[in-house]
């Protein structure tokens, strides 16, 4: 191979690699659906803690969870049809999958065994999800980075206000997941 051909090949490789799609394909539907579910659950906890409600309504939590599950399944099917799955997408699915799985398992176990109260579980959820968002956001998505910052900030802020503990976490979940999801969705539609 001569030098001219080597140079042309290098230029072609460089062009492909620099223009390749390495971005995180944010699933805005998931952010909005699961963020809404989390916000509603936390809001209900606030209403109970502040005496506005006596107990949790199961349909109140189940209905948005079913909607979120249906949307997640639909989103999963859409992902299967897309032509390209970047390394960043793979990392995001692993990080979020493990984080959310661990948080749900911990919440379920601590609810059954009563090892930790509802406040601790909710605090871990916002902080854990916020940390995962921060890790992914730093690498490939400004909206996810902002969402993670809001979630972690809400977990810290809630510790300073026992009276509005769940309300602050609910606002954090809404601001850290639903708002970035909506921004991403609008941006994708434009």
């Amino acid at each position: 191979m001569d030098a001219a051909r080597a140079k042309q090949d290098l230029e072609m490789v460089d062009r492909i690699i620099t223009t390749a799609d390495r971005s995180l394909h944010d699933n805005w539907v998931m952010y909005v659906a699961w963020g809404t579910f989390g916000s509603l659950v936390l809001l209900e906890k606030h209403l109970i803690a502040s005496g506005w409600k006596h107990s949790a309504d199961v349909p109140y939590a189940i209905a948005p969870m079913v909607v979120a599950l249906v949307l997640s399944i639909r989103e999963g099917k859409r992902i299967r049809t897309q032509g390209r799955w970047t390394l960043m997408d793979r990392q995001a699915s692993i990080v979020l999958g493990i984080t959310i799985g661990v948080l749900f398992a911990l919440t379920a176990v601590s609810t059954v065994t009563r090892a930790a109260d509802s406040r601790a579980s909710s605090l871990f959820f916002n902080a854990g999800l916020g940390t995962a968002f921060l890790i992914l956001g730093c690498q490939g998505s400004r909206a996810t980075l902002v969402g993670g910052s809001i979630l972690v900030a809400s977990a810290i802020a809630a510790c300073f206000s026992p009276e509005y503990f769940f309300a602050i976490l609910a606002a954090g979940m809404f601001g850290g997941s639903v708002i970035p999801g909506t921004v991403l969705g609008v941006r994708q539609q434009l």
Binding site: V13, I16, A20, T81, G83, R84
Partner: protein, 94 residues
Amino acid sequence: MTDELFLSRVRLAVVAELVNADWITFSALQNSIDATNGNLGMHLIKLVDAGYVQEAKRFVGRRPQTRYRLTQAGRAAFLRHVEELRAIAEQVRA
């Protein structure tokens, strides 16, 4: 000594596309590389046979979908080839 498999521009382009992806479907590769169906298919077979690229077939709904990902051997061979190309290009400058 450059890797003979990468002497084809289409094969080199395919591997360069796969470097930053977890997997890419045949149609997405075709759009990026701008090669004909048969031509791209033939080059992909050679890359798969060499163990540089992994092929997976499945159905999405009722439509068949073939997708590809780079293997560790393919990634190593690609990096080696790029180093060799750089060395050849540098020789002339020196």
